[in-house]
Symmetry: C2
Subunit: 512 residues, 2 copies
């Protein structure tokens, strides 16, 4: 019982306070579950974004909340995770107005009050009514793959974005993109011999989920020198090696724009991945959650590129016709940043109907994605357009967030450029920078003594000294012999960037 | 491509319309994923609540929406799933007022408008502010196991309910109870040899999740004749058999009040299960999501009974001290019925700290439960109390829903009593009745010809004839040689009960 904290508002018997050793004086009943006998795939899985450093940073935050003045900083900066609204990003007004009406439809009985006193525009009211017609109540389960009207909206959005039609029946709404990734990997991986090509560095959801499934991660390295683009030779080599080892490779994951790299792939790069997948008969998993977070270049979807290839001369043997592609999107990123609402979708292209049925069954066991999150997906794909009463505010807010992200990304990048032993690709998109750090041999030695990877040690020291929480590159995977860390550029202001600069200088001096 | 529907708003090339056979005239690239090579655990899993009948009922609903007059009914009654707000149950006003403020905190700048024109009371406003202090924004990720303040509220609720303290650190918020069940089974089951005792009949989430994990369901039968209570002899026999077969049984699941049975266990029954679990070193999984849906008897929690046993003489050898118990609760049921919001929690009692850490890591990979659903959990466990401005309305709404459920349960029960070959336990709780049906041999023969289980055949015919969708007993498990179906008593009115009566008579006559 000793491990259980207790509240003091009720009388607690002495033995519950652990003052009696009675139960341990005889042979105590052992617990059923121990770290040794539970699911070892769970024990093996790693998820650095919410790992040791994140937990420690939460403890520091709690200490500061309790007016602890012993720490060398007065705020914790959570730069470890793309959580915009925790870092003061304001939600888009139009979206939240609609959601407030969905939650309390009784408000719709007072349209005058809404418009005259509370700043609602008619389009927010109309939108809420349309969505309520579709879902009936946000408190009701929807169909397992999402409300039909919302799936139609998503299909329209894809069609407008790509210039090619989309079928609502192939759209599955999900709890964030993560829910979709988990579903797809669960269905695709049949056994310990099933493998999936995953970029290095990658968002650790992929490796963690593969570890839970006891399936194989087949890593392929991105090219840091070429703005973290895909290198088809590296992909081919990894694939060939896995195949030679007898791994049944099922799929290739591409994160575009990249996480943690921020890189946006060119149409050529996307098409060469699709060609490779067609040749080798692999499912393409396109994680496109950062599709609007692009500062440099232009986002093109895998779906559009696939449709273009299907119509091209290159498809004369029909090899692209049955290429299976799944593309994920989310309300968590972009200028929306509504990750707490857990909304997203995936679109299946070219899947066998019987496999699609199994995906449906899998998602139905968890009943349905959160319905209010589904409504946000609908708003994301059908925001106010020019001429709508809410458009001006929406547009200004959306641009303001975009510009703020770009400004902070640049400030951070400039700071990194000045730091000794740090090099960084210029910011191109997503919400992250992923600088390389070169640490002095003495620092690497010290890390070793403490039983830590060098980049982990650096990030831990950074947190302890500054309250800034970032994630070590080893959490995402990195080329042998290189060290990185990932930081978001979401935190407001630039004061915290100064903290990093100061720490870095002192750290380098300490180990010189 | 033939399986993909297409929108018509863009010009579709001929080949995309399937008019070209080009791609199939040479050797086409085969798909990577087929029903044969995907995860066979997914293929094997069954989930009748959202299975074939539910899918068919949705198609009927769509047909009616499109003014199809060929069907012999004019509405579809979804009595297959506990989805109260899809069946016109109104949400609790206070809850939704608070949520609307959480979604649009700008409303809080107009307290006068809220209270004078829109019916908000001061306690709704205050509550929203308190919750916003805790979560900051419902669009931000919370801590992986839920917002700290909400977990404290849950701990207070448990303490008040049971008379024993609870530790917020042992509370994990989840996406409905389903999310918690999935987490726990994933962590507990190490391999194909791991088993879990599951009641028969049961809510099929348990068998489906065990199938996905390729772990063993160890079924134990409930006693229909004793109001569907637990029968310790049956439990012991199933356990002994599984153990003899070499299964590593880890846990026993108890659903109390029962689903689909509605039975509420006595304190004696609960304690005898706990004693059995202590002796055999099993984790107790107490699914207590229907704890307020009790018409007959009184709900007592497993946690309370465990604490009482720990303080009793029976614990002189300390065997209850380390008994591991997990208790699940949800916002989906009770008089709340907010299943679309996907909120719930589980409390861990007596777990090894290292195992708890692994549970934490597992949930962190999916980031966090929906934050607005977390807020609803908070409201569920801390509703308005006497003296609060919103209390009167809250109380009236809550009682109104309770009385309505009881009234409809009784009407349905009375109808079943009149039907030939149908017997039914009187309604005692939850949201379901689970009558036994005795079908004529000719009907059973006919079902066999159609390749269906007799109860499935009956339910399918019921749906086709009446639009009423129920779930066959075989979807929950039933004693060899018995047939049942599960129906909710959520649908408004009693007209649909008449449809069942009429169908049943005709069905019996047809096969006499």
């Amino acid at each position: 019982m000793a491990s259980q904290g207790l509240l003091s508002s009720l009388p607690v018997p002495a033995w519950l306070q652990g003052q009696s050793t009675r139960s341990f004086s005889t042979t105590p009943r052992q617990r059923r579950l121990t770290i040794e006998n539970i699911n070892q795939n769970v024990v093996e899985a790693e998820y650095a974004v919410r790992g040791e450093l994140a937990v420690k940073s939460e403890k520091y935050r709690e200490q500061l909340r309790n007016k602890d003045t012993s720490l060398p900083f007065d705020t914790v900066i959570s730069a470890n995770i793309g959580n915009p609204q925790q870092l003061d990003q304001k939600p888009i007004t139009f979206f939240r107005q609609v959601l407030s009406l969905m939650e309390n439809p009784l408000l719709l009985e007072h349209p005058d009050v809404l418009t005259k006193s509370l700043g609602y525009k008619q389009d927010a009211i109309d939108r809420a009514k349309t969505l309520l017609d579709d879902v009936k109540s946000v408190g009701a389960y929807s169909a397992s793959k999402g409300a039909p009207g919302i799936r139609r909206s998503v299909a329209n959005f894809i069609e407008k974005r790509d210039g090619f039609p989309a079928d609502p029946e192939n759209i599955f709404l999900s709890a964030g993109a993560s829910g979709g990734v988990s579903t797809l990997l669960n269905v695709m991986c049949a056994d310990a011999n099933s493998g999936v090509l995953v970029p290095i560095p990658q968002y650790p959801l992929y490796t963690a989920t593969l570890a839970l499934l006891n399936a194989k991660c087949v890593p392929y390295e991105l090219e840091e020198d070429k703005s973290w683009g895909t290198n088809l030779d590296a992909i081919r080599a990894s694939y060939a090696k896995a195949k030679a080892e007898g791994t049944s490779v099922r799929s290739i994951v591409i994160i575009n724009p990249g996480n943690p790299t921020g890189a946006t792939l060119s149409v050529e790069d996307i098409k060469s991945v699709l060609k490779f997948a067609a040749e080798e008969k692999l499912v393409v998993m396109a994680d496109e959650v950062y599709q609007t977070n692009v500062f440099v270049g232009k986002f093109t979807s895998f779906k559009q590129c696939l449709r273009e290839l299907q119509q091209s001369e290159e498809n004369k043997d029909g090899k692209f016709d049955t290429l299976e592609l799944v593309s994920m999107h989310s309300i968590s990123k972009g200028m929306i940043g509504e990750c707490g609402h857990r909304g997203g979708y995936f679109e299946l292209v070219g899947f066998d109907e019987k496999v699609t049925e199994q995906i449906y069954k899998f998602v139905s066991i968890q009943l349905c994605p959160p319905v209010i999150g589904q409504c946000l997906v609908s708003l994301m794909v059908e925001p106010p357009v020019e001429g709508d009463p809410s458009y001006e505010t929406y547009h200004a807010e959306e641009r303001g967030i975009f510009d703020g992200l770009q400004k902070r990304a640049t400030a951070l990048y400039e700071a990194f450029r000045e730091m000794e032993g740090v090099s960084c690709q210029s910011p191109t998109g997503s919400m992250y920078l992923f600088p390389t750090i070169t640490l002095p041999p003495k620092a690497i030695e010290k890390a070793k003594q403490e039983g830590r990877k060098p980049d982990e040690y650096y990030c831990l020291r950074l947190l302890d000294a500054t309250g800034v929480c970032v994630v070590a590159g080893s959490g995402f995977g990195q080329k042998e012999g290189t060290l990185h860390f990932r930081t978001t550029f979401l935190a407001p202001g630039t004061e915290w960037v100064g903290r990093i600069t100061k720490f870095h200088k002192e750290f380098m001096d300490e180990f010189r």
